[in-house]
């Protein structure tokens, strides 16, 4: 470890930015606030790039940096230490890069907002925590970041805290995440109890030393399952996905950064990071895969029926995360991370573009009020197109490679099966369908909405009230450069981002991290030396699958074109044909209502009726008051002893003393 990468600087810089803006920002002028935020996040990104350049020269696959001891309890110790390997390097670049881009974008998008300093301070804070999470060298440090990003997301979702939905959405996100964090915590406790450490190195070393007989042992499985619960909370998987759609109440850049590109992928990162555990817990892996598949399919179906542009994107995010889960579940972590990266590009871009659209329309979110914007906002249109094609999985765009990789792994991996593959395929079809539906509804046809200013309440909702007046745009206009440039960059990335997997480059890059996954438990996950014909046969099959998935994407595109471009009346017909199903899908399968009935209502009822009225009022308060009453009654009788006659007091004193002496005699004090 000759070279010193000063990893600690990377998270620290955004923190400084956050502190500066948060503490002093109120007095700063807007451009100073933006300058601070951008400079610190940009510096973090630059440092990340430098680290990425330095890293290979280190030779060793892993770089550790210990700042100070955090806590010592017996032989259990946790350090403030950072840990950099290929995996965290990729995450580092994604987080800081996309984060920086979205910072730039936010400058334009949030310029008119009140509390700009608050926004940027939160955003920097999020960056700090996210980088902590990514660079952590132990589960505990990771947990700091884990909780921290939760906090930041809470703050940012509720950025417009004066609006009830925003506030409650923030709370919802926070609380739902608590459920997941609970699982995560228990997993950590189990690890401490049985392996006495949370540092990745020592922990994984001791787990790998366990030997094959512990394959799928109850302990490892349960730990893995608990970790999965945590990941479900953070990455919005069934059954804990419900917070993500509501999180769209936050400003669009936040949705792009936190709820599409980075934070929600923390769960996938965490699973990949603890692949050692999951490899030894096949059951848990299967569980992850099943969950991912279900989520992907389920969310995609919901996405089809949504009319709110951000909601559509939100559900697509959920289903893409489901893909990643599926990949992790079948031990194809590389594919998962790969899709994570590409998804970060194109989904971030999608949100930014959607934000740009809303910006143009003065806060309009309902796709039915859009349409025909192709000429009006060309930049947004083209970038959006790139992103849409990418997510739809049409070659040679990024989404194609990653998604296809996942599908192939889902089938071919030793843990995979054709069921995963089938669902994945259908999901791919649905994805491309609803994405192109969004695309057509937004940009084609003629403009259906009245003027943006005709929606003051909507405008007010997203805090864009007065926006138009200040902009004084007579007609719908494209976004300023400061917003368009990041979108352009992301568009380029979402076009070319997938090519890194050419000849398994990305895979080999991440190989050192997951070699254990490849080697130990699954001898035939990736045939080390397959015979030529088997390789050729494999290759042929891969090509075949590729074709099928492309076909699926095409089908989706065609259906969307048919329904929303060619014959716009058809959807109504279909809806009238199957009203109940449509309603169900439209209402997201009534999951929120279900949860409300299952958990929220009983909880409220129980705590108000039982705990408050029952226990607090009739047990605790009653106890307190009762004791007071008892004291009063007893003293009411006792006070007659206080005759005021000094000698009677003296008598009592002597009596007590005599009792004490007698007692001492009784117990025989020597």
């Amino acid at each position: 470890m000759t070279a010193n990468l000063h990893l600690w600087l990377i998270p620290l810089l955004p923190l400084v930015g956050a502190a500066t803006n948060g503490l002093l920002g109120k007095r700063f002028r807007r451009n100073l606030v933006c300058a601070i935020a951008l400079s610190f996040s940009g510096a973090a990104f630059a440092l990340g790039l430098w680290v990425a350049l330095e890293f290979p020269s280190l030779g060793t696959g892993v770089y550790r940096e210990t700042l100070a001891a955090w806590m010592r309890a017996g032989d259990f110790r946790v350090d403030f230490a950072f840990y950099l390997d290929h995996l965290s390097l990729v995450m580092l670049l994604i987080v800081s890069g996309v984060g920086f881009l979205i910072h730039i974008y936010s400058v334009g998008y949030m310029w008119e907002e009140g509390g700009l300093y608050r926004f940027f301070s939160y955003l920097n804070l999020f960056l700090f925590f996210m980088l902590m999470l990514v660079l952590a060298s132990s589960y505990l440090v990771m947990f700091i970041g884990w909780e921290g990003v939760g906090l930041a997301s809470y703050l940012l979702i509720g950025f417009w805290f004066t609006r009830d939905q925003a506030a409650s959405a923030g709370k919802k996100a926070f609380i739902v995440n608590r459920v997941g964090d609970f699982g995560f915590l228990i997993a950590l406790f189990l690890l401490i109890k049985h392996f006495g450490s949370l540092n990745f190195d020592s922990l994984f070393a001791s787990i790998q030393a366990l030997g094959p007989e512990t394959q799928g042992s109850g302990l490892l499985t349960s730990i893995a399952l608990l970790l999965m619960v945590g990941a479900c909370g953070k990455s919005a998987q069934i059954p804990l996905y419900v917070w993500l759609p509501d999180a769209m109440e936050g400003p669009t850049p936040v949705s792009a950064l936190i709820h599409a590109a980075t934070m929600v992928t923390a769960g996938i990162y965490m699973i990949a990071r603890s692949h050692v555990i999951f490899d030894r817990a096949p059951a848990a892996g299967t569980m992850v895969a099943i969950l991912g598949t279900l989520t992907a399919f389920f969310a995609a179906t919901i996405g089809m029926a949504q009319t709110d542009i951000k909601k559509v994107l939100a559900y697509s995010t959920i289903s893409q995360l489901g893909y990643m889960f599926l990949a992790c579940g079948v031990a194809a972590y590389t594919s998962g991370i790969f899709h994570l990266m590409t998804h970060a590009f194109f989904k971030g871009l999608l949100f930014l573009a959607a934000g740009s659209v809303m910006h143009a329309l003065g806060g309009e979110q309902d796709m039915r009020e859009m349409g025909g914007l192709r000429q009006k906002i060309p930049w947004t249109f083209w970038t959006m197109t790139a992103a849409t094609v990418a997510i739809a999985g049409i070659p040679p765009f990024a989404g194609f490679f990653s998604k296809d990789e996942i599908l192939w792994q889902a089938y071919a991996s030793s843990r995979g099966s054709w069921v995963y593959w089938l669902f994945g395929l259908i999901t791919a079809l649905l994805t491309s369908f609803y994405m192109f539906r969004l695309w057509f509804l937004t940009f084609f046809g003629e403009y259906r909405g009245s003027r943006a200013t005709a929606h003051p309440q909507l405008a007010g909702q997203t805090g864009h009230a007065g926006h138009d007046a200040q902009h004084g745009h007579g007609q719908i206009h494209d976004s300023p450069k400061v917003m368009l440039v990041p979108m352009a960059i992301l568009a380029v990335l979402s076009v070319v981002g997938g090519w890194v997997s050419y000849h398994h480059t990305f895979e080999n890059f991440l190989a050192p991290v997951f070699q254990d996954a490849l080697a130990a438990p699954l001898p035939d996950a990736h045939p080390a030396g397959p015979s030529a014909e088997s390789a050729a046969e494999e290759g042929g099959k891969e090509i075949l699958f590729m074709g099928i998935s492309v076909a699926a994407a095409g089908t989706g595109l065609f259906l969307a074109w048919l329904l929303y471009r060619r014959r716009p009346e058809l959807p109504q017909k279909i809806v009238q044909r199957i009203p109940s199903l449509y309603q169900t899908v439209l209402h997201k399968y009534y999951v929120d209502e279900l949860y409300a009935a299952l958990f929220v209502k009983p909880l409220l009822e129980g705590s108000s009726k039982l705990l408050w009225h029952g226990i607090d009022q009739h047990v605790i308060d009653a106890g307190v008051d009762g004791s007071a009453d008892a004291a009063r009654r007893v003293s009411d009788t006792m006070r007659h002893m206080q005759s005021g006659n000094v000698r009677s007091y003296a008598g009592w004193v002597a009596f007590g003393a005599a009792l004490v002496i007698a007692y001492m005699v009784w117990i025989g004090v020597p």
Binding site: G651, A654, A662, M664, P670
Partner: protein, 173 residues
Amino acid sequence: MLHLLLFLVFGFACVAGAVNLLVQRHPINSALSLVLVMGSLAGEYLLLGAEFLAAIQVIVYAGAIMVLFVFVIMLLNAGEEERTAGSRVALVLGLPGMFIGSVLVAWLLLDRSPTRAVAAGALKGDPQTIGWLLFHNYLLPFEVTSILVLIAIMGAVVLASQPRMDASTKKEG
């Protein structure tokens, strides 16, 4: 032999004084009998070898504290204590209590203490040793006690000084 004799003499004086303190109805007689008790206790201390304590007992107890009592009795011109209601009760309670208590304490001490005989002047408590103990082993208690005495002095002055401002403050001890 002489030791035992002296012990009995002083002891008898003690008990006589104590009982007299109870039966006398005029406080000054009680005070004088208490002085007698203290003086003979000083004798007992001498028998036990605690000469310094004996002297201090005479000087502090008999010579200062009891003088204070006598002074206050004379100052307030305390008369005979008259029978009141409750004195009957006190008598009924008190005398059996006295017997029970004395029997209990005596039996307790006898039961708990080794019945070894103590020679005359068994432990020589000369001023040097006592002082050494006082200023080495028991320095902190000593200081605390001194502070206590200081507080007591101030309290006594405050309590006993006339409420009227013009009056000259009288000091007792």
